[in-house]
């Protein structure tokens, strides 16, 4: 890609801004600032750090879904499966098998690599709506298995609390929430780094080419199947990493993360932020999680409780507000949050995405 003159200083400025933002985020646990009701407590209180950590995890997870959906054009309804696989494998390894932290991590990473390899190899034999449905079927199978609680390993409906006996002590206790927050921040940095690197590589270009015109890629002598499988495994592996971070942050796995609704919420995050733009998905994931959590808290506030019923009932349901915002974005701002800021370097990607949105997934 040739760069126009003047982009070099702009890239440098962009990197400096990025470094400053990351440093500020790293410093958050030391900043004892008031948050004016935006967060549950003062900025560095455990409750606030947990919320910020949650936003970061789902921001990272949304980026992994964007890699699959926004970049490669693979509409999967089973992404929740791999997030859940990460969380549940680690939880079972630590709680049921009593493995130490590194051993549990190694086992989880193995599963996180093998599971998408097998499921991707099978699912990618289909395309379009059929692919969406096969991935949905696998994810539903996962949800059913978790719900059935085989050998009392998953805890069924109740979920599985993480046993901390064999895990490092800095992960335990409310006072140590900042370490969990830093883990989540590190996760975002790692996931973003990998996604930037891989989507800028030759492989990443081929993925975008597959999204735009798969047949043409085939005619050029490349095998789309292999590239799609790599995208599927990469996105799913990173999603499993997000699952581990989420598990540590929340302290237990629950069946809510295995549902098709959970995958749909990822789709909402990505489209809300702007598909195919990377930053957009991150922003969408953070914003969605923030609103989801804070609107629920806001619903209990006197300001909302004193409203007439016709306003109070819908406004006290976060998903109602998010759903309305999502529909408005689809109808009037299909580029999502990213299009509001005219994200640098994303213009062509965004235009292609909009074209794809218009063309429809069904006929692909």
């Amino acid at each position: 890609m040739t760069r126009a003159p003047g982009t070099q200083p702009r890239r440098f400025a962009g990197r400096v801004t990025l470094a400053v933002i990351v440093l500020l985020l790293v410093a958050v646990p030391w900043l004892d600032l008031p948050t004016a009701g935006l967060l549950p407590d003062r900025l560095n209180a455990p409750g606030s750090l947990q919320l910020l950590g949650l936003c970061l995890v789902f921001g990272a997870l949304a980026m992994t879904y964007d890699l699959l959906f926004g970049f490669t054009g693979l509409l999967s309804f089973g992404h929740a499966l791999f997030f859940a696989a990460g969380a549940y494998t680690f939880a079972i390894a630590a709680t049921v098998f009593h493995l130490s932290g590194p051993a549990a991590l190694a086992l989880t990473l193995g599963v996180a690599l093998l599971l998408p390899l097998v499921i991707g190899a099978i699912s990618l034999r289909t395309t379009g709506i059929a692919f969406a449905m096969v991935t949905l079927a696998f994810a539903q199978a996962g949800a059913v298995i978790v719900g059935q609680d085989p050998g009392h390993a998953t805890g069924g409906e109740l979920g599985l609390g993480l046993a901390y006996d064999h895990l490092p002590q800095f992960l335990v206790g409310v006072a140590n929430t900042r370490y969990l927050y830093w883990i989540c921040l590190a996760l975002v940095v790692v996931v973003a780094g990998i996604i930037w690197w891989i989507s800028g590589s030759v492989t990443g270009r081929v993925w975008q080419a597959i999204r735009d015109n798969e047949r043409r890629v085939q005619v050029l002598g490349l095998r789309p199947y292999v590239f799609k499988l790599v995208a599927f495994v990469a996105a799913s592996f990173l999603a499993a990493l997000c699952g581990i971070a989420w598990l540590l942050l929340v302290g237990g796995a629950n069946p809510g993360i295995t549902t098709a609704e959970f995958t749909l919420s990822l789709l909402v995050m990505v489209v809300l932020g702007g598909a195919g733009t990377r930053w957009g998905a991150l922003a969408g994931g953070v914003l969605y999680t923030f609103l989801d959590q804070r609107l629920a808290a806001l619903a209990g506030s006197p300001a909302i409780q004193s409203l007439p019923t016709a306003l109070r009932v819908p406004l006290s349901q976060p998903l109602f507000v998010l759903g309305i915002v999502f529909m408005l974005v689809i109808l009037f701002r299909p580029g999502g949050i990213a299009s509001l800021f005219g994200m640098h370097g994303s213009q062509p990607a965004r235009r292609r995405w909009l074209a794809w949105l218009g063309r429809g997934a069904a006929r692909r």
Partner: protein, 295 residues
């Protein structure tokens, strides 16, 4: 023997429910290439409308008369038809020719309606009033079959016959069938396909609403989770049957309902797993489903 009869009839009853949800879904997809994620929301609204009316009509024991029950079913049907029509006119039409955006907007609508139902009526299941005979038991070949299963089978058969007759023998049915085959050609012949779009959405919504009320009878209660639960089952049925095919959906519903019941009985609790495996196998062998179009 009596166990097999019971499982078979219960399975066919469940199949009837699946077919009612799936038929609207497959019609909408066939004509418009839109996988309607708001179908669960239509179903939910129909179910809750019937429940609201039933709560007014029922006596102290929670029973309603046959006439009252019919009124509840009609209310559910009407509620579904209204929300379906409004969805097409307000949300789908402005996104004309942008099928993927249309799918996404139905995802949003599904979220909104689900949250609204949750906010207004809460998350707990609400007991669904029905006539006393639906709680009764019919003895067939030594099996005690709940009477509500026959209600579902009957309504599903009625809908299947009516839908096939509508598609085969009316002008609008002809346009819908032609549109499923080749939409561009229908437009080129000077027919306004968009009116058929509104029609299938109204029809699909009405069928979803009706199935919401019947699901209330089948499960004995309505709850906010009902919509998404049946939506996933209906997706599985529609895809196995072949997107756009009514008869395919009917056959697939039968296969899925029976498989689920038998698997649940003989291998405790494995029914849900069995149907998703069936879906995966069918898609891998025949990506377009049993009776899907070959183009």
């Amino acid at each position: 023997m009596s166990t097999i009869v019971l499982l078979a009839l219960t399975g066919i009853g469940l199949a009837g429910l699946y077919f009612l949800v799936a038929s609207g879904l497959t019609l909408i997809f066939g004509l418009m290439r839109v996988l309607n994620f708001a179908h669960g929301a239509f179903l939910l609204l129909g179910g809750y409308c019937a429940w609201l009316l039933g709560a007014q009509l029922m006596d102290a024991a929670g029973n309603v008369s046959n006439a009252g029950f019919l009124a509840m079913l009609i209310a559910a049907l009407a509620a579904g038809a209204v929300i379906g029509t409004l969805t097409e006119l307000v949300l789908i039409r402005p996104l004309y020719r942008r099928e993927f955006a249309q799918v996404l907007v139905t995802v949003g609508l599904g979220l909104v309606v689900g949250a609204l139902v949750m906010g207004i009526w809460g998350g707990d299941p609400r007991n669904f009033p029905a006539p006393p005979w639906t709680h009764g038991i019919v003895r067939i070949l030594g099996a005690n079959v709940p009477a509500s299963r026959f209600l579902l089978i009957g309504v599903a058969l009625l809908v299947l016959v009516a839908l096939v007759a509508f598609l085969r023998h009316t002008r609008y049915g002809l346009i819908v069938r032609a549109g499923v085959e080749n939409r561009t050609m229908v437009s080129a012949l000077g027919i306004d396909v968009r009116r058929a779009f509104t029609l299938v959405f109204a029809l699909g919504g009405a069928l979803a609403g009706l199935s919401g009320a019947l699901a209330g009878v089948y499960f004995g209660a309505v709850s906010p989770g009902l919509g998404s639960m049946l939506l996933i089952d209906a997706f599985i049925v529609v895809v196995i049957g072949g997107l756009g095919s009514i008869t395919g959906s009917a056959l697939a519903a039968l296969a899925v309902g029976l498989l689920q019941q038998f698997a649940n009985y003989y291998f405790t609790g494995i029914g849900d797993l069995a149907i998703v495996l069936l879906l995966a196998v069918v898609l891998l062998v025949r990506p377009r489903g049993m009776l899907g179009a070959s183009t």
